[in-house]
Symmetry: C2
Subunit: 333 residues, 2 copies
Amino acid sequence: MATVGVIGGGQLGRMLALAGIPLGLTFRFLDPAPDAAAGEVGELLVGPYDDPDLLDRLADGASAVTFEFENVPVGAARRVGALPGPAALEASQDRLAEKRLFRRLGIPTARFDDEVEAFPALLKTRWLGYDGKGQRLVETRPVGADDVLEELVPFERELSLLSVRGRGGETRFYPLVENMHRAGILHLSRTPAAAAPQAQAETYATRLLDELDYVGLLALELFEVGGELLANEFAPRVHNTGHWTIEGSITSQFENHLRAILGLPLGSTAACSRTAVMVNVIGHEPERDAILAVPGSHLHLYGKKERAGRKLGHVTLLDPTPTCVRKIERLVS
Amino acid sequence: MATVGVIGGGQLGRMLALAGIPLGLTFRFLDPAPDAAAGEVGELLVGPYDDPDLLDRLADGASAVTFEFENVPVGAARRVGALPGPAALEASQDRLAEKRLFRRLGIPTARFDDEVEAFPALLKTRWLGYDGKGQRLVETRPVGADDVLEELVPFERELSLLSVRGRGGETRFYPLVENMHRAGILHLSRTPAAAAPQAQAETYATRLLDELDYVGLLALELFEVGGELLANEFAPRVHNTGHWTIEGSITSQFENHLRAILGLPLGSTAACSRTAVMVNVIGHEPERDAILAVPGSHLHLYGKKERAGRKLGHVTLLDPTPTCVRKIERLVS
């Protein structure tokens, strides 16, 4: 029975375990929170992410170690040989390095830093940003080196591409997802994105995956503007915009991430339905009964306590009617 | 966060938890084996099924208690108010009571006891039989009261109907499953059974569910012979012939059993694909990599040690080609 170690014990770790336990895997998590969401589905080591003893215990006898958030200390990830690998982790933690990497690989991005011509523009912290946190609009070019200035993109829509690359370099892609945010937090994902530039997105993701010698699931966030794709950022992990794959794809993003890091054959990324919609449950416990009464609803709660802006769960609908989607949106907001 | 108590901690308990954790449920199991398969996905109380203290701990604060095998001591089930309820448990434990119940409800069965005319006939222990155990062929009518004599049925095929009934009496049915056994153990299930007498089977199951005021998932095993259905037995629990519902149905048998016993709205039992095939992994660890390399294969391992005749896992395929099914059959046998 193989064990997988995971740095971080949030909902992504929890869903990794729910996908991996049927494959005969057991899980071990490292998280500072004693009530971490993944604690129910594996062994939980409680302590700081960079505690060397705990990291060694996490990796002890594990067939693979991975992480479920991108702000893992790189040293910690290196110590335990965590996949997808330190290069991906470093690039995704540093917005400037990330943009330079995109550019170097010929992946278009919004104008940034010296290129910015129009204001207001977006000033983003270079490190540790997530869910719209650590960014603000500025009217003039600021002085200071630890932020990244980014020109606002009048995009038509936000897309994400989930891809998975195996140990041998085999790569598979899920259909493009269209994402809607509220207050900077993902509210709804819909797939496949209509008339989406799938091939172009796959070309960009392939460059990134190959450059980073990536192993595992990667989410590439893109803006579509005037028929062009601009890379916004990537996440070196399973991703909220891929939660629909649990029911909506033959192999979920979670299972494929595990297959990749364990060197197992990748699974089909084909969709199981014509469309899938995922709605996040944010901030407060939803009315479970009412959600389950919506035909075809798939409820996923993470076992987390209520808090404003916190992701507590999600609901997935396959081939839903617009009425069902609206019902779910009302029930979770 | 609601807790569900389960008497028994085998693979059925494990799969109940894997279905229920996303609904925000937590699980507690009672099993004599300290390495019970469900121990990875919930709290495991180790001890005899009829230990009053452990039963009380199992039920303490639980929103519902259920069982995952039908040979639970009835007194234990009663003590904790376990669903689907003691009437169903008693009838399913006693082959004679079960047959009499079928007859009373106008559900045809094979000829038994005094009715038997043709030999060899099947002599089955009245109590505690499963997976073909506790039965043998006899050439003459035996003397003794604790066995049930049953005339052999020259059936064309074995079918099973999975149904679920909610607390309020709402009932839903999955499409009929066709089952193939090897050495008395389920080898393969295929759904929907071609040209199956769905309506007739549902009529019989409804009589049983209503008579028992049943709450939860019930599996009714049937023989089809000359266009007629004969009831063989029923199981008052989630069932091996329903494992395909994890990927193959909008709501799995596990989730619907939990929804039923918790008084939540039942989920759709519609199929997600034109066909689904499930193959059991029996006796020894399969070649995991080879199974995962078969397109569209869904592997479920139960974390159990190898032993001849033991169910260690299963593989589900949706809309498979005959070649893929044969490949999986070769890989698990």
